[in-house]
């Protein structure tokens, strides 16, 4: 459903060519994190705490060091107390503390020591010979428990200025926002529902474990190969942690086997560099799946209270929410984002939201696809669903009635520019899915979802070859086909075939700084930068034509891949194709390139509406998702097939989160399910086909109207599925995941 009236102006954008890296990826030749080898390479392995919270009394590495295959061992003592740059002490200290424990192990899986040996087996064997004496400390892994008086303190003094006095030291950030008078709003309502919701931590679940190959010499020069969503942040962080100059560490991003936010920071990379420096040999570290679950970022877990008032006609009079987010043993849980997203889809007169960032003895949370928003939507959209049910109102009509639109003062402050929520709701309402009959035992749920999207620091460089082909260097790792989108946008500007453009993910030494591939920013920001860089090159191409024709530069324009006179007054010249200009560029002024460096600010928020049908087995509590439709505003779909892929992937991850995925901690604070056998992500036979509708309401902040699409797709599923299951089971589900024991127990308690 293209609402973009400019669609016809595009020649390449909006088409669906094969991805440039397709061949590499179907033949096994694409090099991912663990696929790099270096001469003389050692294998690293990391010893991890078996305790949730323990003082490290002593680390004795002597037995391991005595092994002939062992070439280096590092502990925290090998990360000298590097003076971090002013303003970054806290951030880097947290990262350092997470990659290698100081005096206290803060969670099950926290790194304690590391070994480099001549083989992976030898390194693993050596770990068994490192003796660590721990003094176990009381621990806490639940967010509500961690906020209670008397809860074990993870770290004194970790809270920032935002936390009101009198709160537990585990509360480290506080957010409050909103407008209007919620109490007055609730008083106007015909029905007010307040309810409590809980979500467990889930893991991003990328199939590729973290892997890196590091070389660092005593001269402070290093090379690092790793799977990451952003190699400049890896460069900056590792350099700081190792006490070397940023530019002396060249980081190359491998092909990345999924990230979803989880590969936006460092875990093993500084450790491999430290081992390499000590052994003076390249060191490769590849995490096991167990390590990925125990020691990399899962998402935050949440405990939430949401209260909404509604009139009989469906008008929302007020909304209020309290969101407590647990983010592991360090600050960073997205209490603020959760709160800010919670009511963003709605045009509210009275709204107030509070978010808490709470520390516990769990691994440091990392971003996971729209961090905070899916949980927030689960709480808010469940309450709206219940209000609709009790007032006998159609859930889409009620959302349309209250939907945010251009000019709405957002629940989190600013006024929305052109947005597409209403369009997604209208498309959902018109979709055959919404009116299809349900079978007995089935329920239908819908939900809206919101995400901010992000711009971020971006550099792109584009250079032309003599034969008229194009080399495009971008700095955002390609997680889901972004090379194709970049090539399409460059082709659009230059007017050269898509196939003539080679897109490379440049290393840190060959391009300016780029933020991580996160915040749904790649197609937006790297895309915008690609367009601008291509336009920069076009300007130079036009200048060459102008010089050749002997007319002013502004008398030349670019059309269909050729320089042409800009109008009848400019003179009569045959169109000069790009390849003809580049063929002689060595003689006409030298190489032609285009560049763009900036921090684009117009990312453009995005909205989605999902429809889901679920079937509940009343004897076992098992849920089957039988039909799923994603409707989302993409602004402009550059490569529609990969946009659909983002929609479908977000929905599938949401289905896993809603139904079966969860971090299960036992009474000792140990993670019970650090493997794919028991951390149950959806398998092929669990899912139906996932239908998609691409709505295109152009983003005014992007030349082609692009909005990021990667994250919004995971915002509605938790709530949409909970609403469907609640309808099918005829009992409100308030806790995720809605695993069969929970659903059966809910059925029993209500039946």
């Amino acid at each position: 459903m293209a609402l973009d009236d400019r669609k016809s102006q595009f020649l390449y954008v909006g088409t669906t060519p094969d991805r440039p890296d397709g061949l590499d990826k179907v033949t096994g030749r694409a090099k991912f994190g663990a696929d790099a080898y270096a001469p003389g390479m050692l294998h690293g392995a990391i010893l991890r705490s078996p305790h949730a919270h323990a003082r490290i009394k002593r680390i004795d590495t002597s037995r391991a060091e005595a092994l002939k295959d062992v070439k280096a061992i590092v502990t925290r003592a090998d990360f000298a107390d590097v003076p971090f740059a002013p303003g970054l002490e806290g951030e880097f200290w947290n990262v350092l503390e997470n990659v290698m424990a100081g005096d206290t192990a803060l969670y099950d899986g926290h790194a304690i020591a590391a070994v480099a040996a001549t083989s992976a087996l030898a390194a693993r064997d050596a770990l068994k010979l490192i003796d660590v004496r721990y003094e176990e400390l009381p621990h806490v892994t639940d967010v509500d428990e961690a906020m209670k008086e008397g809860a074990p303190v993870i770290r004194e003094g970790a809270a920032d200025y935002s936390v009101p006095e009198g709160m537990h030291p585990n509360v480290v950030r506080y957010h409050e926002s909103g407008h209007g008078d919620v109490e007055a709003g609730f008083a106007e309502a015909d029905l007010v529902i307040e309810d409590h919701f809980v979500t467990e931590a889930t893991h991003q679940g990328y199939i590729e474990p973290h892997a890196c190959l590091a070389t660092l010499g005593g001269d402070g020069k290093g090379e690092l190969w790793c799977c990451t969503q952003g190699h400049w942040i890896v460069q900056k962080t590792c350099a700081a942690l190792l006490g070397i100059e940023t530019s002396q560490l060249r980081v190359t991003a491998s092909e990345i086997g999924g990230g979803f936010g989880g590969k936006t920071t460092v875990f093993i990379e500084p450790v491999a560099l430290a081992l390499s420096r000590k052994a003076n040999r390249p060191v490769k570290i590849v995490m096991s799946r167990n390590e990925v679950f125990r020691a990399t970022g899962p998402t935050a877990s949440a405990s939430m209270d949401v209260k909404i008032g509604m009139k009989k006609d469906g008008t929302i009079t007020a909304a209020e929410g309290v969101f407590r987010l647990q983010g592991g043993a360090f600050p960073g849980a997205p209490g603020d984002m959760t709160a800010m997203c919670a009511f963003a889809p709605y045009n509210l007169t009275n709204v107030r939201q509070v978010g808490y960032d709470v520390m516990t003895n769990r691994p440091k949370q990392a971003a996971y696809r729209a961090p905070g928003s899916p949980m927030a939507a689960f709480a808010t959209e469940s309450v709206i669903d219940e209000l609709c049910k009790q007032l006998g109102l159609d859930p889409i009509e009620v959302r349309l009635k209250n939907a945010s639109h251009e000019g709405t003062k957002a629940s989190y402050g600013p006024r929305f520019e052109r947005i597409g929520l209403v369009e997604t709701l209208e498309a959902a309402k018109a979709h055959p899915h919404y009116s299809a009959p349900l079978k007995p035992g089935q329920g239908r749920g819908i939900s809206c979802g919101f995400w901010f999207n992000h711009g971020g620091e971006t550099s792109v460089s584009l250079s032309l070859s003599e034969d008229g082909t194009v080399q495009l260097a971008v700095g955002t790792p390609d997680i889901g086909g972004s090379r194709a989108s970049m090539a399409l946008m460059a082709a659009e500007v230059l007017g050269v075939p898509y196939e003539n453009i080679r897109v490379t993910i440049a290393d840190t030494a060959t391009l300016g700084y780029n933020d991580v591939s996160h915040g749904s920013r790649v197609t937006y920001a790297s895309g915008l930068a690609t367009i601008k860089a291509a336009e920069d090159a076009v300007q130079r191409l036009c200048a060459r034509a102008a010089a050749k024709w002997g007319i002013p530069e502004d008398a030349v324009k670019w059309e269909n891949g050729c320089a042409v006179p800009s109008g009848p007054n400019a003179g009569e010249f045959d169109p000069l194709p790009l390849a003809e200009i580049t063929a002689t560029m060595g003689q006409t002024g030298g190489p032609i390139s285009g560049h763009y460096e900036a921090t684009p600010e117009g990312a453009g928020v995005s909205f989605a509406t999902h429809i889901v049908d679920a079937e509940v087995d009343r004897e076992t509590g098992k849920t089957k998702v039988v039909r799923y439709t994603v409707v989302q505003d993409a602004g402009k779909a550059i490569h529609p097939t990969y946009v659909e892929g983002q929609f479908q992937g977000g929905a599938a991850q949401g289905i896993g989160w809603a139904l079966n995925e969860e971090y299960i901690y036992n009474d000792s604070g140990r993670l019970e399910n650090p493997l794919f056998l028991d951390y149950r992500i959806p398998v092929a036979s669990d899912l139906p086909m996932i239908d998609t509708v691409i709505v295109e309401v152009p983003n005014p902040g992007h030349p082609y109207g692009v909005r990021g699409v990667g994250e919004t797709s995971i915002c509605p599923p938790l709530a949409a599925i909970a609403n469907a299951v609640s309808a099918a089971a005829e009992v409100r589900m308030r806790r995720l995941p809605m695993s069969p024991p929970r659903v059966l127990s809910a059925l029993k308690s209500d039946g």
């Binding site: 693993r124 068994k128 096991s288 167990n290 004897e619 076992t620 509590g621 098992k622 139904l659 079966n660 299960i664 019970e672 399910n673 794919f676 056998l677 028991d678 149950r680 959806p682 398998v683 036979s685 669990d686 695993s739 069969p740 024991p741 059966l744 127990s745």
Partner: protein, 293 residues
């Protein structure tokens, strides 16, 4: 770790009898390698039994019974039309274990000797009265499979002993078996509860029955009370109700990451009831495809 590939069971038993430390036999390896990779169990001696003659054979004996080699994989069992036709419940129970990839390797004997209370094939084997030949330093003996697992990860096999063949009885007339398990997903999970039912009919009336449950006790549980609830009935609602009650009563499960006591106790009856319906239909000559998940 020492790695051996003996050519006979006698040789394998001798190697195991003489070995020091931890010994494991390697058939499909789908449990042994997981334990090795995660440093849970690193055997001092690993004895690959797949080079022994006949370990991949599926043999139909003259009396209608079957002899299975210990390295027959789940995939090979399920590709064997006559075996699958005779014992669909047993074959499906094996087929439910893990993925297509796991099916290429996993074996009945391995599933049995791993000693998991949640092993899918074991309730089906117990219901089917499968027996095992054990070869050891003292020679051979044959035992009922239910006597082999003695607790989570434990078996009654003595040092030097290994299973050298499995025997499935003749199917006979008017009989059918079925196995169902409960898992949260549709594939790839360990059974939260498993139920196997093996029946014989005379006309519409059940004359013989065996019911076995998995994942509800430290070992797979044969439930005679559940069988009694079925015998003499035509699988009417009353009989099914008694079956459900008997199964739930036979459960002494644990709370763990995969399920709760209450859930397992409840769903054991549900699985048994559903499996009984399939077994009954099969005994009546209907072809019922098993259910994944």
């Amino acid at each position: 770790m020492q790695f051996h590939s003996p050519a006979t069971f006698v040789e394998a038993a001798a190697l195991a009898a003489e070995a020091q430390g931890v010994t494991r036999f390697l058939a499909g390896g789908t449990d042994v390698l997981v334990q090795l990779r995660s440093d849970m169990v690193t055997p001092d001696t690993l004895i690959d039994i797949k080079k022994i003659g006949g370990v991949r054979d599926i043999k139909l004996n003259d009396d209608g019974s079957w002899t299975l080699g210990v390295a027959v994989s789940g995939a090979e069992m399920n590709e064997h039309g006559p075996l699958r036709a005779a014992w669909p419940g047993l074959c499906e129970a094996m087929d439910l274990i893990g993925s297509t990839q796991i099916q290429g390797r996993a074996t009945l004997a391995g599933n049995l000797c791993n000693g998991s209370p949640a092993a899918d094939s074991v309730p089906a084997m117990v219901a089917a009265c499968v027996t095992a030949t054990i070869t050891g330093p003292q020679g051979e003996r044959t035992v009922a499979v239910e006597s082999i697992p003695t607790g989570p990860g434990l078996t009654s096999l003595e040092k030097g002993e290994l299973i050298s063949a499995l025997h499935i009885p003749a199917r006979g007339e008017n009989a059918g078996d079925a196995y169902l398990r409960f898992i949260p997903r549709t594939e790839m999970d360990i059974a939260v509860v498993g139920a196997a039912v093996n029946l014989r009919l005379d006309g519409d009336t059940i004359t013989e029955a065996r019911v076995a449950l998995g994942a509800v006790a430290p070992t797979v549980r044969l439930v005679p009370e559940a069988a009694e609830a079925l015998i003499g009935s035509t699988l009417d609602d009353g009989a099914l109700e008694k079956l459900v009650a008997a199964c739930s009563a036979a459960c002494s499960p644990i709370d763990d990451k995969r399920g709760t006591i209450a859930f397992r106790t409840e769903v054991a009856g549900v699985m048994a009831k559903r499996a009984a319906r399939i077994a009954y239909a099969r005994a009546k000559g209907e072809t019922i495809e098993g259910h994944h998940g």
